[in-house]
Symmetry: C2
Subunit: 538 residues, 2 copies
Amino acid sequence: MNQNDTSIICLKADVFWFSIKCDPMLLKVKRLRLEAKRPIVILNKDDAAELDVKPLDRLELSAGRNKEIAITNIAEKFIPRGSIGLYSKVQDDLKAKAGQQIKVIPTEPPESLDYIKKRMDGNRLEPDEIRQIISDVVDERLSEIEITTFVLSLHNHHMTMKEIAAMSMSMASTGDNIKWGKKKIFDKHSCGGVPGDKTSMMLVPVVAAAGLTIPKTSSRAITAPAGTADRMECLCPVDLKLDEIKLVVRQTNGCLVWGGAVDLAPADDVFIGVEYPLSIDPLLLPSVMSKKKAVGANYVAIDIPTGRGVKIKTVAEAEELANKFIELGKKLGMKVSCISSFGDQPIGYGIGPALEAREVLASVSNYRHIPKDLLEKVSRLGGELFEFARKKNPDSIAYEMFKSGKAEKKLREIIAAQGGDPNIKPSDVPVGSKNIIIKASKPGKVWWINNAAVTEVARMAGAPKDKGAGILLHKKIGDSVKKGDTLLELFAEKTPKLNRAIRIGKKMDLMAVGKKFSMVMAEIPEERKYEKFFILER
Amino acid sequence: MNQNDTSIICLKADVFWFSIKCDPMLLKVKRLRLEAKRPIVILNKDDAAELDVKPLDRLELSAGRNKEIAITNIAEKFIPRGSIGLYSKVQDDLKAKAGQQIKVIPTEPPESLDYIKKRMDGNRLEPDEIRQIISDVVDERLSEIEITTFVLSLHNHHMTMKEIAAMSMSMASTGDNIKWGKKKIFDKHSCGGVPGDKTSMMLVPVVAAAGLTIPKTSSRAITAPAGTADRMECLCPVDLKLDEIKLVVRQTNGCLVWGGAVDLAPADDVFIGVEYPLSIDPLLLPSVMSKKKAVGANYVAIDIPTGRGVKIKTVAEAEELANKFIELGKKLGMKVSCISSFGDQPIGYGIGPALEAREVLASVSNYRHIPKDLLEKVSRLGGELFEFARKKNPDSIAYEMFKSGKAEKKLREIIAAQGGDPNIKPSDVPVGSKNIIIKASKPGKVWWINNAAVTEVARMAGAPKDKGAGILLHKKIGDSVKKGDTLLELFAEKTPKLNRAIRIGKKMDLMAVGKKFSMVMAEIPEERKYEKFFILER
């Protein structure tokens, strides 16, 4: 330092010189066999004080040549002095044996923690900083408090488009990436929230039958009665590995697989772990688009269900979101097209994995049986993709594919390629044997159906885990009803769950039926608690 | 519902009636012997899916008549199907034996989670809502993600005074509360950040010797080299129980005990667990004042050290904070007076528990030895309290108490009452046997001392855990220095820690010494990383 004749006294003062080395503490490994997504170790409180570390401080562990960074937890009695408890992950990574002595020294928190604190205070992040955070998230180097802070910072101070793009790229690049060696790869996504939405299972065979490549990965349900992966699993395996997916798509032009079996944008699962308990969804755009990017898609149709019963409440909101998807697509080198679809009642009649799989099979095998709303969604979303592919009359191709039987043939090809029985019939898909029927007590019309209530009752009946559980609607909005007509059937695999669903259903308004349309949707007594309804689907 | 002739179809439709009961799942207890502040249980992932619960969802557990609400964690293999892993706390509360079957059913999250989500989105909370949150924090019913969300919501959207008051009251009322049966109870607090600040140990005997009641509870150091409890513990026990504290105060008018041994405003420790890793301190006001409220104080002097090296950087900031303390005091029925004190160098000469305890003993036993800065702080803070007590010449009482020997007598009474040796001499307090001396390489003056560096080096030497570790300054700001003069001594109890402190000290600027005052405090190369310095003291 240029301090003229004033010297700054650090201990490097000319006066002393020591050979400096901080001796690490030696601690004996105690195997905990505990699973956690993060590399956690537990120290005795006295050893922690000796090292001057607090809960969540970082430690560098060395066992021979293996080094790992771990997050400190502290116990009073569970870990004796001189020992260190290792969670399974740390133990595996460190290849340390029980009883073995390992070296432990405190170390700095990862740099990304600085960026998280910066973001927490409302500052925007640079692409490099986002990349570092996502990389540390995927490498499990951040604690739950730190990840919560990051997710909340995005909820509190919405991401700029620059941040969203950097986030999408980083999330895509920190997992598997598929290269197809083709110019145009098509994909489809729904923002979710509508029960019974089996559009993907109908659309993929249509698009593939028309000669386009559509490697569709889907999620399992998080808050819904069924995800596309849950539905498709009633017909064939969906947990295919990367190489298997490639093979299926090479054979059939398409697939309908579970994204969770491959490692596409793995940071998203970590974020969902925070978003779900807080009912927030600040990462919607990067979450969707990083997966499309990772799967190699460059032409994407996005369905934005719109209505009071779904995530997006108005067409204006849907347009705003659509514009963001389109802009983000441009930044990621993808063409995106969006539709806002009527979201205030279930799609088709079946809700729950098996009931929906049956409905899909019945629909593809006889085009006259395709529920109108389902056909229109498939036609319009297909139309967007076929327009990208410069096909003529793009909106009518889906109908042709169903009518000609090509869509059915393609779906059965995909089922076979994924390892299922190509000759499966709707009745081969088992549905729950416990059921009740709800009948109309008055004649009239169906005026509205409550998605949230339908979802909750179907889940309480066991969906999506019990594949045979769910609801089969017999009437939809606008349908005429005679007294005694069946309105819906409720299915479950187990009696206690059927009872649980009925108990919940008694508290919720499933649909309105009557002669006159009633303007009153709900009475709201002063003390009535707001019914939570949170959709977190990917 | 008044729906005219349109009926809302819930499952309570006239058509069906079931006797409804949701059967709970029966799971076998597996003891984990794991400690956690929250009631955590671990389910196998298949059982969790069966119950339709996700990580952090709540479960109601019943073992015979005992019921507990617990937070769900999920394991793939660690817990087999049909079992449930119980953390020690849950097991103790439930009085469940290993292998015993307990009943498990999903249950709603606590109502306070709604309030946390409300606060997360920037809405202010009502006193009732705050009370519920604090009560659930203390009862350990909230997960780490939820508590982090709450603390961050206070960081992002600063609390209103109404919220601060409600928070202080709730934090105070959810722990021990002391009633003294006296009209005036005095107390003192420092906002901290200045190393070597042994003011409380000097002030309490002064105030008590003057006949006022001052039941001082203090914290141990969190980020500092010593807290008052750490210093005092070199002279006598400080972890007294509530009844013992009352006895000491009844005998001597004062005490100097560790607040952590009693249960004063226990929510604060939970919040510190989040604040520390994120380096944020949104709960400063309720944290301080809830403890004062709980201890029964109604006249409080608050020291706000001010300067670039402490929490509060400017006098304007100090004034703003002081006004809040005063206003909050009014709402809590307390008279508060604040001083902003020079905070840019350590108080006195000793830094670290033993060195500071020695300095206090030496100071009280010979008033001529009291460092000037220490004497002035004690005099002025005492002055505020004596003015509350309507004593004449309030600012001069401290000096009189030291000169007359009454303060020393009182300190020794307190030491004895708390179970220490009243005849203890400074040299009876052991300091670390490993030490090095830093000498001046040039003559001149001391221009500045860096609190952050002094703190870090003292902590690396072992303070506060190793009570004999720390720094003894020989020169302070403005002191003249000859070449070869000792500037400071560094003490440690163990050689590796001495070496660690030296290693860290080499990277930090401890003080500036020279002939000419240098305007350059640090050179900041482009790549130099901002040195973090976060004070979280209570």
